[in-house]
């Protein structure tokens, strides 16, 4: 995968609260992620990782607090349209072909040459020969490739990934790790949630651990990364 030149963008979460009725999914979360950082969110199920990522993607509105995207070059606040989001689910249509899916989202995003962009991305994720196949006939690994190529359509500066390694076999995991490495090296800011140590977690430059909706650990060092990821049954 050969990422295009991108403008580095950082994310600032300020006192984010998210309540569902009386239940706090996130409680006063403040985080500053520098442009180009590769950050892993760790924590048990229900600790708030998905909620934080969906808030960053602007899919969920926080109950209070704010989120800002900062352009490293000119220090300005940038649009959320510079984010690409990969969720638990594939976010593509099973009843459409790989090509139709990417074309659909490329056209909605207003990409200048949607057909060319679709072709490029399908080649990059190795699905060119299956471009006319319905997504419902794809394996889990191929679906994940589709999910990632959809998230990269608008060449985002910030990539948000919610447990991207779920269901991947070792081959798929290596492909994902390689792709993420290239994206990180190209200057993209990567924020992803993971369970435990893997080839993918080794790419992280920083790990943040959430517990019951609050940040309980935040480390920049590679040495303490494994302990944060595996801490208390993550």
């Amino acid at each position: 995968m050969t990422p295009a030149a991108i403008s580095p963008v950082g994310i600032r979460f300020e006192n984010i609260d998210k309540r569902y009725g009386g239940l706090y999914a996130l409680r006063r979360v403040s985080l500053e992620i520098a442009a180009g950082e590769c950050v892993v969110l760790a924590g048990r199920n229900g600790s708030g990782k998905t909620t934080l990522l969906r808030i960053a993607a602007r899919l969920v509105r926080p109950s209070s607090g704010s989120i800002t995207f900062l352009d490293k070059k000119n220090g300005a606040i940038t649009a959320a349209s510079q984010t690409g989001f990969v969720a638990h689910a594939t976010m593509v249509y099973d009843e459409l072909t790989a090509e139709e899916n990417l074309l659909l989202f490329a056209e909605l995003l207003g990409i200048a040459e949607p057909a060319a962009r679709t072709e490029t991305l399908l080649a990059e994720v190795g699905l060119t020969d299956r471009r006319k196949s319905l997504v419902r006939t794809f394996s889990r690994g191929m679906r994940q490739r589709m999910a990632i190529s959809r998230a990269l359509l608008n060449e985002p500066s910030v990539l948000l990934l919610d447990e991207p390694a779920t269901g991947l076999d070792p081959q798929g995991m290596s492909w994902l790790a390689g792709s993420l490495r290239q994206m990180r090296d190209a200057g993209r800011t990567v924020l992803m949630s993971l369970h435990g140590e893997s080839e993918i977690s080794a790419l992280a430059t920083r790990a943040v651990r959430l517990e019951a909706g609050s940040v309980i650990a935040d480390t920049q060092t590679g040495a303490s990364l494994p302990s944060i990821l595996t801490f208390a049954g993550a």
Partner: protein, 224 residues
């Protein structure tokens, strides 16, 4: 401009997926056919009674068809979280509603048009002399049903007991549209057919008001 282009792209997707699977149209046509045939057994087709009750039975059958057709409208977007992908891709969230309600109106209208000849034969009611006027009523009625139904489908898709919630919310909300549509259809199926302009006016007002409300507040219905 992006609203129209996004709507056109999404409408294309809705039509492509439906005509590829034909799940919704086949189920609804079969269902409505059974309903119309069952209703026809309760009347003597040669009597004036048939003409009197046919309009209300026709719209009742269309309402059943609509509730069946509208249920999966947003539910289908949940299995792969494609609604989130759409929300992240469109500039104006109303494009999602505009495409879905246009597709629902088209599917409903197609089902109704397929059913009209069957209805005409079974109930011994001549529909072809007033076919043009009937299409106008069917379009305005179906549009009203689709606008309200699409909005409620978005709400119910996120709720528990969603299968029960949609018909429960839909029926009271659609009562005014059904009453107006039935009255106009009744007038058109009369021995001396005439256009009930008051009913047509009401349907236009209903459609405009609900469409405006959806345009203004639709975004909130899509939020998690």
């Amino acid at each position: 401009m992006s609203l129209f282009s996004n709507t056109a792209v999404l409408l294309g997707k809705e039509l492509r997926t439906e005509f590829r699977s034909r799940e919704l149209l086949t189920t609804t046509v079969v269902f409505i056919l059974v309903v119309v045939v069952l209703f026809s057994f309760t009347f003597d087709a040669s009597s004036a009674e048939s003409r009197r009750f046919a309009a209300s039975l026709l719209w009742l059958a269309f309402l059943f068809a609509a509730s069946l057709m509208l249920q999966p409208c947003f539910l289908r977007e949940q299995s792969n979280d494609t609604l989130s992908a759409l929300r992240l891709s469109v500039k104006d969230p109303f494009a999602i509603f505009a495409a879905k309600l246009s597709a629902n109106t088209l599917f409903l209208l197609l089902t109704e048009l397929l059913m009209l000849p069957v209805f005409s034969v079974l109930f011994n009611v001549p529909v072809f002399p007033v076919f043009g006027q009937l299409v106008v009523v069917l379009f305005l009625g179906s549009l009203g049903v689709s606008i309200a139904g699409t909005a409620l489908s978005a709400i119910s898709a996120q709720a528990r007991m969603r299968e029960l919630l949609l018909p429960l919310l839909l029926l009271p909300l659609l009562t005014p549209v059904l009453v107006a549509s039935t009255r106009v259809t009744l007038a058109l199926l009369d021995a001396e057919p005439y256009m009930e302009w008051k009913g047509i006016g009401f349907l236009i007002v209903f459609d405009v008001v609900f469409l405006t409300a959806l345009w203004l507040f639709g975004e909130y219905l899509l939020e998690e």
